[in-house]
Point group: C2
Chain length 401, copies 2
Amino acid sequence: MRVLVLGGDGYLGWPQALYLSKKGYEVAVFDNQARRHFDLKHSFDSLVPIRLLQHRVERWQQLTGQSIAVYHGDTTHYESLAKAVADFQPEAMVHFAEQRSAPYSMIDREHAFHTQYNNVLGTLNIMYAIKEIVPDCHLVKLGTMGEYGTPNIDIEEGFIEIEHNGRTDVLPYPKQPGSFYHLSKVHDSHNIMFACRVWGVRATDLNQGIVYGASTYETELDPDLATRFDYDQIYGTALNRFCTQAAVGYPLTVYGNGGQTRGYINIKDTVRCIELAIESQPNAGEYRVFNQITEWFSVSDLAEKVGRVARRLGLDVQVRCIPNPRVESESHYYNVVHTKLLDLGLEPHLLDDDEIESMVRLSMKHRDRIDTRLIKPTVDWRNSENHVDYAESEPAQLAQV
Amino acid sequence: MRVLVLGGDGYLGWPQALYLSKKGYEVAVFDNQARRHFDLKHSFDSLVPIRLLQHRVERWQQLTGQSIAVYHGDTTHYESLAKAVADFQPEAMVHFAEQRSAPYSMIDREHAFHTQYNNVLGTLNIMYAIKEIVPDCHLVKLGTMGEYGTPNIDIEEGFIEIEHNGRTDVLPYPKQPGSFYHLSKVHDSHNIMFACRVWGVRATDLNQGIVYGASTYETELDPDLATRFDYDQIYGTALNRFCTQAAVGYPLTVYGNGGQTRGYINIKDTVRCIELAIESQPNAGEYRVFNQITEWFSVSDLAEKVGRVARRLGLDVQVRCIPNPRVESESHYYNVVHTKLLDLGLEPHLLDDDEIESMVRLSMKHRDRIDTRLIKPTVDWRNSENHVDYAESEPAQLAQV
């Protein structure tokens, strides 16, 4: 089966391409190099060195004999997208090609605008490309658990049965996203649901939790196959960032009181979940939603876990609560239904001390690549009008964290 | 109070500007002439002749002594928007500046893209303009009843209390919009709700029904003050279109079996509703939703009413059901809560035979301006890939309708 991985050079897209290639799928990647471009402009870098996309696919071919086709293009540039789709004729498309950072989307108006432009209109183009070029192609779309927010009732998988004034219907689950990035995914969900209904497109919307982990079995085959690992305030997700902070003696920065609870998933499970979605193709016109998480933790839980493991490795770890730059509830109900992927056969890699230890050790190994100026949060949800030039930021003083 | 009417040259924006000016508000309009530009490109025209924006405001000043400031600009062009907002310093903004046609949004990819670009990103710019320039300004946003779709339960005003597994929360009402246009309004609603929560913006989201009527008390003062009246397949809403069809002996074209039921409102009530929203300013951070309708009808109901009145005027009226170009349920439950505007003091102008008769007579008066080629629906929800050049359309044969 031919699978086109949109955003196939990113943190998740690249391991996904390798995983599917290893499993015998015919894989192509489509990427606009936006994530690497941000790093170039703002002097950010992955903790783990990564090779150019072309070098990566060449190394993969040397090691496995499998080829991965590369298309350079942009989902917001319909001609480049349509050309790739027409050429490769995918039977499934995995869509990672979105601006994926909540803080990025809250930097200022330009970044909010760019996030919604890229994500919402890029995905709209993808729906048209499917409809017009490969109408049977299955769209596997990465959504986010953040679409739901933190309602005071159980979070269901995409839809909820509502009884109201003696009548009943099954309706899309209400959404309360917490940033312009999360909003863009809510907009996508509505657009995709509509395209399925009106055009008979088949789609699976994966509301993924926060991903942690530095590698998959495939990326571990060779350093040239490594995927990126972000620890900075813009792209670094909580657990990855905490492991890096522990390695350099930077306090684990808990936003607010740390009671914010979120769903998490190991990167090794992400790549398997997407395979499960591809294998279990929906019917024409069907719009499915799976909650792609395996467990949930509060931010404080994670800081405590990382602190314990890192201290065992001889590191001096502090945990520090800092003012929360986000607008979010720090004490809330959280219970998520996530049975659909388990029913399809997912066997979760749950978070244990070995996993954390490997991430802390990786951070220690690359300690000299860590720029601590990139860690302190400067993007404030309440007051995001100033364009921040990260390259000109002052070095963060630990005492000011 | 200073009120900036965004899209203040349109079907509703212009009467709104006059209404508020008459009531003593200090009014400015902001418009990009997009609606008139479409007419120029595609040889469409209003049934009722309309004057240039500049001539309209000059005539209004001659007649009433009231001045209305004009800003030429585009919400997607932030600099022009910010300049107008900074200059006029509005205390309320009424936002009509959206692409407002469902069929337009379904013409092809380019029109879907343009609709969501203009509406979603334009409104995002407006939110930033408020936050950064006039943080206390009240946004009065035109949404649509079409955001809700046709659920099998009562439609509440924006939010619904849900009890689920023994727990309860009040959550945003689930949305099931039926076109890329309606989707754009759903996206707006989510973005605005978020801006209120995070930045403390105050907003009223008016989920308006389908508007009918050719004039308000203000536009009736002089022919130079007339607002546009659309009868074509793209912009002509059901009742307006039926009245025009009756006048020229074109069968009243009911899409499908006509069971589609929707909320309606008289244009005279629209302008009052918005005044009521402005008068009852929400608190900082408050996001209110009002359902702006006064009654509901099925499409068949409307055709029957128009037919009866028109025949009384001596017209030979046929009603013809044609294949539904839209994807929508033609038999469904529909019950809408719409008490908030009534509670604020709205006294509805309900649809009666006199209102219909005046619209039919208006259509008869301007019969020679009606281009019947523009009536037949060519935009198909299921198959919208072809860019249609209306100017090159063949004259519609009545027999083919």
